[in-house]
């Protein structure tokens, strides 16, 4: 069992939920995934990072007395009394195979790989289902207009959970189309970096080989001295990045 929950204490106010049809009593504060573990499930499919970063834990649910079908990520959505849960860890949406090097960054590439893109009804069911708060309908609309870069930009936070496709009446594979748009953008549409190209040339010429060979030959003491004497480039207003 997940160590974060295994404290041995029994919370007082357990609530009823139905997991894959069976009723269990679980603590009300837990995310769905932890509640399933609490109920004794050994998670195999449908679990992953626990941070809402992966698409491994898509879950569909209904609440007792409410006709609506909801969806969310099991690691992020907190249980509610009377929830009926079904996990959809895998959604078999269509994925096209392509050779990125042979495509052109135009609408033709998108429609060629995913002709059904044009069938989108603009109903917005996908946007409502997205646990990342992405306006899926809007990126689909950008795709239909052939605005690849906008589709890439709007869909960037997609974790490919498949919940949008699960709710789509037009059987779109939104997240796969968006992935193609992002790859076309990264490869063809954003401007190249002059400083990177220059560095590649310098490395090819062997410009750094002597410096590196020298560093590799230094004793720990000499390295320590060099390290302590390093000049630290001042930070700009963007600050640093981590993890």
């Amino acid at each position: 069992m997940h160590p974060e929950i295994g404290t041995g204490k029994t919370p007082e106010n357990l609530i009823p939920v139905h997991i894959m049809g069976t009723r269990y009593m679980v603590p009300p504060s837990l995310p769905i995934m932890a509640a399933m573990e609490y109920a004794g499930y050994r998670l195999l499919r449908g679990c992953g990072c626990r941070r809402g970063l992966r698409r491994a834990c898509g879950t569909a649910y209904r609440i007792h007395g409410d006709p609506q079908l909801f969806s969310g990520l099991a690691c992020q959505t907190v249980v509610q009394s009377g929830m009926y849960l079904a996990q959809i860890p895998f959604f078999p949406a269509r994925r096209a195979s392509y050779d990125l090097t042979k495509l052109e960054p135009s609408a033709v590439a998108l429609f060629g790989a995913y002709p059904q893109l044009l069938r989108c009804l603009g109903c917005g069911a996908c946007t409502k289902a997205c646990p990342q708060d992405i306006d899926v309908r809007a990126y689909m609309a950008a795709g239909m207009k052939g605005d690849i870069q906008r589709m890439a930009d709007l869909s960037f936070d997609c974790i490919m959970c498949g919940l949008c496709a699960a709710r789509c009446p037009a059987e779109e594979a939104q997240y796969n189309i968006a992935l193609l748009a992002r790859r076309l953008t990264g490869r063809y549409l954003v401007p190249r970096s002059a400083h990177l190209e220059e560095r590649l040339e310098e490395i090819r010429r062997g410009d750094f080989d002597a410096d590196l060979a020298e560093l590799k030959s230094l004793s720990k003491q000499e390295l320590t001295a060099r390290y302590s004497a390093r000049e630290i480039e001042p930070e700009d207003r963007l600050g640093s990045r981590e993890d």
Partner: protein
């Protein structure tokens, strides 16, 4: 309403009372000697009773956490009489592990003419790679160079790194940024194409590339998509962990035994070379620490390789990220990004006092948090018995203006908001969490190991980071050595 219980709110008031003064003064960084002192006394790697030497195998006598020594000495899943004719087929290169290192290896092996089978324990991409948010290092600005990057890496690693591996890492780094771009990875850039690059703990130049807050996910989903595009040559088998490597009479690796998690059937997958890319072991919860790692990170590959005779290295050092969530209980261990500190939030104790420079190297920062909670007893105790110190996140808004937190850390805001905590208004309780396996199986720059036919790449390996990895160098490592291992295995 605050999501913190009343007992903790009293301490929060003290944090608020000192905030004004702390906005003007920051606790100074300590000398190299003082760093060593706090490490010796408080870092988990130095707690003798929680470590022991492994008693069997080529690296007999190496010190490591008890839990890891136990699994290295554990009984195998299958017996010596296992029937190798229960075959799952054969291929040129079998790759074990579907994270970033495995995907990069698959692509390069395929490009060098090999038929590839990639087996993975959960789903393809269910991996630590997917969770990396911060960034990836490469020295590609004129102010920077691979040599300066080299110095940062070995200084961060306490000068114990394998020099050949570091050289490969820093020299390949810019090439791999270009490779990832050619596959369609969208790095953060300015309008003219200049990369947006920042500092990270231990960097002397700004060289941290990023893809918004999804750097690892962007790399992983792109590599995975490309692997899927090559399905004619690369077969991916999910929910099928490897449980043993197989050597031929001459001691060459010739495949692996895998188990199908759905049917529990064991079978042998034959190959002319094997690439191990199974990642780290945070889920072994060394010394009872919580972890940031994904569910499948249980050091499997280290055990598999060790059982066929590959030497270990650097496993006495694990990386504890100083800021794991310590409250509420449901998210204990989850990563609170270092960005919170780099944007200006200070760690403070229950009295609202600073006690450490906010951006010491990770091991030093983590040890200082533990000292504050243990020796000095100035930590905050939660109702579930977890200790922690405050990370004063509201300072970020005071320094950079209202809305900065929502703009820069939307995922974190969402995470805590679910529990009624507004991190723009209230501090975050943090405690070190098990984050990264610095060591692993010894490897060479071409990804080869002491066992012929066995190659490896990624967090499973040991040497490139010495005793301490700097952030942004592991996404770098998995792509550099994933490519190298894949190529070596194919040729």
């Amino acid at each position: 309403m605050s999501g913190y219980p009343t007992a903790m709110q009293a301490s929060i008031s003290r944090v608020e009372a000192t905030r004004g003064r702390r906005l003007r003064e920051t606790f100074p960084a300590v000398s190299l000697e003082e760093r060593q002192q706090v490490l010796d006394d408080f870092h988990p790697d130095y707690i003798e009773e929680n470590m022991r030497p492994v008693r069997v195998g080529v690296s007999k006598g190496q010190r490591m956490p008890l839990e890891l020594a136990d699994v290295l000495e554990g009984r195998p899943h299958i017996g010596a009489n296992f029937d190798l004719t229960a075959s799952a087929g054969s291929t040129d290169v079998v790759i074990i592990g579907g994270g970033g290192a495995g995907a990069a290896a698959a692509l390069l092996a395929q490009e060098h003419g090999a038929r590839v089978t990639l087996v993975t324990k959960l789903r393809f991409g269910d991996a630590n790679t997917m969770m990396a948010q911060g960034g990836i290092q490469a020295a590609d600005r004129p102010e920077d160079s691979p040599a300066i990057h080299y110095l940062d890496v070995v200084g961060g690693g306490h000068f114990t790194n394998d020099p050949d591996l570091v050289e490969a890492l820093v020299k390949d780094a810019p090439l791999i940024v270009a490779w990832l771009e050619s596959l369609g990875v969208m790095f953060d850039k300015q309008a003219d194409g200049t990369m947006v690059e920042r500092h990270g703990g231990g960097t002397s130049r700004m060289r941290m590339h990023s893809a918004r807050d999804y750097t690892g996910a962007e790399i992983m989903r792109t590599l995975r998509d490309e692997v899927r595009n090559r399905e004619a040559d690369i077969t991916v088998v999910e929910f099928s962990p490897a449980v043993e490597l197989v050597l031929d009479e001459s001691g060459c690796a010739v495949g692996a035994v895998v188990v199908n998690l759905e049917t529990n059937a064991y079978s042998f997958l034959g190959a002319s070379a094997v690439v191990l890319a199974t990642g780290g072991g945070g889920r072994l919860h060394y010394q009872g620490f919580p972890t940031t790692n994904h569910y499948g990170a249980t050091a499997d590959g280290v055990v598999l390789a060790y059982r066929v005779g590959a030497p270990l290295g650097y496993l006495e050092s694990m990386q504890y990220h100083p800021t794991g969530a310590a409250f509420p209980e449901q998210i204990v261990g989850l990563l609170v990004t270092e960005k919170v500190r780099s944007l200006g939030a200070q760690p403070v104790n229950k009295l609202g006092e600073q006690f450490v420079y906010p951006l010491e190297p990770r091991d030093v920062e983590a040890a200082a948090f533990i000292r504050e909670c243990q020796e000095r007893d100035k930590g905050i105790l939660t109702s579930s018995g977890q200790r922690g110190v405050w990370l004063d996140s509201p300072m970020v808004e005071a320094i950079h203006g209202q809305g900065t937190i929502q703009r820069n850390l939307p995922a974190m805001v969402r995470q805590f908001d679910r529990f009624g905590i507004d991190i723009a208004q209230e501090p975050i309780l943090v405690y070190p969490t098990l984050h990264y396996q610095n060591g692993g199986i010894r490897t060479r720059p071409d990804g080869s190991t002491a066992v012929p036919g066995l190659f490896l790449a990624g967090e499973i390996s040991g040497g490139v980071h010495g005793h301490n990895r700097l952030m942004g160098n592991s996404l770098r490592e998995i792509t550099v050595f994933g490519r190298r291992a894949g190529r070596s295995a194919a040729v």
